[in-house]
C-alpha cells in the first residue's frame, strides 16, 4: 500500500513537472491574454513531432528540444499574424492553425507515431552529464523528476523575469487594457506576437519532453491538451488566488501537479481511461466554479 502510494506520488510529480511547461504556456494566453488559444492543440504535438523526428535522425536531445521550442514559437506567431493582420477573431485564428498543424505534424513525422525508446533523451543526457562529476547515478523516475524540476524552475524564473521587463509589462497590459497600452505607444500587434510565440514555445517544449519521457511521439497526443492546461491554471488560481506574477507562475505549475493527482485518483477509484475526458470536464467545471465562492479583491 505504501509502495503503491509512493509510486503514485512519484508518477504524479514526474508527469506534473513535464506538463508544467504546458501550464506556463497556457497561463500566458488563457490568463494574460484572456482567450483560450487553440493553437496549443497543434503546437504541443508539434513539439513532440519536431523533437522525435530530429532525435531519430541523430540530433542531440538538447538541440532537438530547443528546435521544438522554436517550432512552437513559429506556430504562435502564425496565429498572431492571422489574428492581427487579417483581423480574424483570436479563437478562430487558433482553430485555423491547430487544423493546419495536424497535417504539418504528420508531414514532419512521416507517420502517425515515432517510437523513441532507443533514442537518447534530455533526461538521459542530464544524468550522463551529472555522472561526469562521479555521481554514478542511473536514469530513473527520481532523476527525471529532478531534471524536469530544474528545467521548470529555470523556465518559471525566465517568465517571472520577462514579465517584469519593459516589454513584458507591455505584453501583460496588451491582454488587460489594450487601449491604454496603445495610448502609451505600444504596437499591440507586436506584443500579441511576442506573447503567443512565448506561450506556444513553452507548450511545444512540454510536448517534446513528454515524448522523450513516454518514449514516443504520436499525432494524437495533443487532443484535449488546452483543456488540461486551462484546468491546471484555474486550479492553481483557485488555490493561490491572484497575487502577482510570481504566484501566477507557481500556481500554474502546482495546478498541473494537482490536476494529474486528481486524474490519477479518479482512475484509482475505478473510473476507466475512457471516462478520462469526463473527469477532465468535471475538474474544469470545478476549477471554474470554486473561485466564485470565495470573496475576491479583484476581478
Amino acid at each position: 500500500m505504501v509502495a503503491q502510494l509512493q509510486a503514485l506520488g512519484l508518477n504524479m510529480l514526474e508527469q506534473g513537472f513535464l506538463f508544467g511547461f504546458l501550464g506556463l504556456g497556457v497561463l500566458i494566453t488563457f490568463r494574460f491574454f484572456r482567450f483560450p488559444d487553440l493553437t496549443a492543440e497543434g503546437s504541443y504535438p508539434l513539439g513532440g513531432a519536431v523533437a522525435a523526428a530530429l532525435l531519430v535522425s541523430g540530433v542531440h536531445p538538447v538541440a532537438a528540444t530547443l528546435s521544438a521550442a522554436l517550432a512552437g514559437a513559429g506556430a504562435g506567431m502564425v496565429t498572431a499574424l492571422i489574428h492581427t493582420k487579417l483581423k480574424i477573431n483570436n479563437i478562430v485564428a487558433g482553430i485555423v492553425v491547430m487544423t493546419a498543424l495536424y497535417s504539418v505534424n504528420l508531414r514532419i513525422m512521416g507517420r502517425a507515431n515515432i517510437p523513441l525508446l532507443r533514442e537518447p533523451t534530455v533526461f538521459g543526457e542530464a544524468v550522463g552529464w551529472l555522472n561526469g562529476f562521479g555521481l554514478g547515478w542511473r536514469e530513473n523516475v527520481y532523476t527525471t523528476i529532478l531534471v524536469a524540476f530544474v528545467l521548470l524552475v529555470a523556465a518559471g524564473a525566465l517568465l517571472v523575469w520577462f514579465f517584469s521587463t519593459d516589454l513584458g509589462l507591455a505584453v501583460r497590459a496588451t491582454g488587460q487594457n489594450e487601449p491604454m497600452i496603445l495610448s502609451l505607444g505600444v504596437d499591440t500587434d507586436r506584443t500579441k506576437m511576442v506573447g503567443l510565440a512565448l506561450s506556444n514555445a513553452f507548450i511545444a517544449v512540454s510536448g517534446a519532453l513528454v515524448a522523450q519521457n513516454h518514449g514516443f511521439a504520436d499525432i494524437g497526443m495533443g487532443i484535449g491538451i488546452l483543456v488540461t492546461g486551462a484546468a491546471a491554471v484555474l486550479i492553481g488560481e483557485a488555490i493561490f488566488g491572484d497575487r502577482g506574477i510570481l504566484t501566477w507562475v507557481v500556481a500554474a505549475v502546482v495546478g498541473v501537479v494537482i490536476y494529474r493527482l486528481l486524474v490519477a485518483l479518479a482512475l484509482r477509484v475505478g473510473l476507466e481511461p475512457v471516462d478520462l475526458r469526463l473527469v477532465t470536464a468535471a475538474l474544469l467545471l470545478m476549477a471554474l466554479a470554486v473561485p466564485r465562492f470565495r470573496p475576491r479583491l479583484l476581478r
Binding site: 488587460q176 491604454m180 502609451l184
Partner: protein, 269 residues
Amino acid sequence: MTPAMLALERVSKSFLRGTPNEVRALRDVDLAVAAGDFVTVIGSNGAGKSTMIKAVAGFAIPDEGRILLEGRDITRRPPWRRAATIGRIAQDPNESTCAGMTIEENLAMAERRGRPRGLRLAIRGDARRRFRDALAPIGLGLEDRLASRVGLLSGGQRQALALLMATLSGSRLLLLDEHLAALDPKTAETVMRLTDRLIAERRLTALMITHNMQDAIRWGNRLLMMHGGRIVLDVGGAEKAALTVQMLVDKFHAVSHAEMVEDRVLLTA
C-alpha cells in the same frame, strides 16, 4: 509662421455609414489649437466631443478631412504612432490605467511612452524614488502604495494617477475626456487643480471635455461648445473670461432651437 500644435481641417466622421441609423458624429470640423492653449469643450450628450478627441488620438479614423499634429499629417496613423506626443484620459475611467497591475508598474509603462521597450527590468535604478517624488505632491498618499494594485484605488486616486501617466514623459498635447465625471466635488476640485498645475508646469497644450459649465469657464483660455457634430461656439481671451453659465445656457438653447426649426423646414419642404 509656426504650425498650430493641433489642426483639424474639415474633419467628418460618421458611424454606421450607409445604414438608416447613420450617425454623423463630426461634420466638417475646423479647428486650430496653438501651442500652450488650454481649451475647454462643452456640449450635450452625443454632440461629438469624444469622437473629436478619439480622432485626434487615433481611435476613430475620420471619413474625410485631415488632422495635423505639429504640422504633420497624422489622420491615419495608428494610436501607438502618435503616443509620443499625445497623452490622453479616456471617458471610460477603466481605460486610462491598468487595474490588474501595480501603481509602479503603471507608472513604469507610462514613463516609456513612445519609446522602444526591450528586455530591461521595468522598475530599475531609482525609478521608485522618481515615482514617489511625482506622486507625493498630489497629496492622496499614493507615494506609499507603489506596490498596490491600481484596481484597489478609489476613483479619484485612479484619475490622479491617470493624469500623471498622461503627462509623465514628454507628451505635449493632453486630451481629457470628462476626467472628473465620476469624482465627488471635493476630489474633483483636487484633481482639477492638479490638472491645471501639470498643464502649466509642463507647458502642455490641452483639450478638456467637461459637462461642468462653471469649470469650462473657470479653467483654460479658450472655450468650445459642440452641437450635432459641429463647433457652434469658440471664444477665447477676455470674451471667455466674461462668460457666465447663463450665457452658455442661452447659447445652447439658441443652437438647439435653430436645429429644431431647420428640422421643421426640412420636414415641411
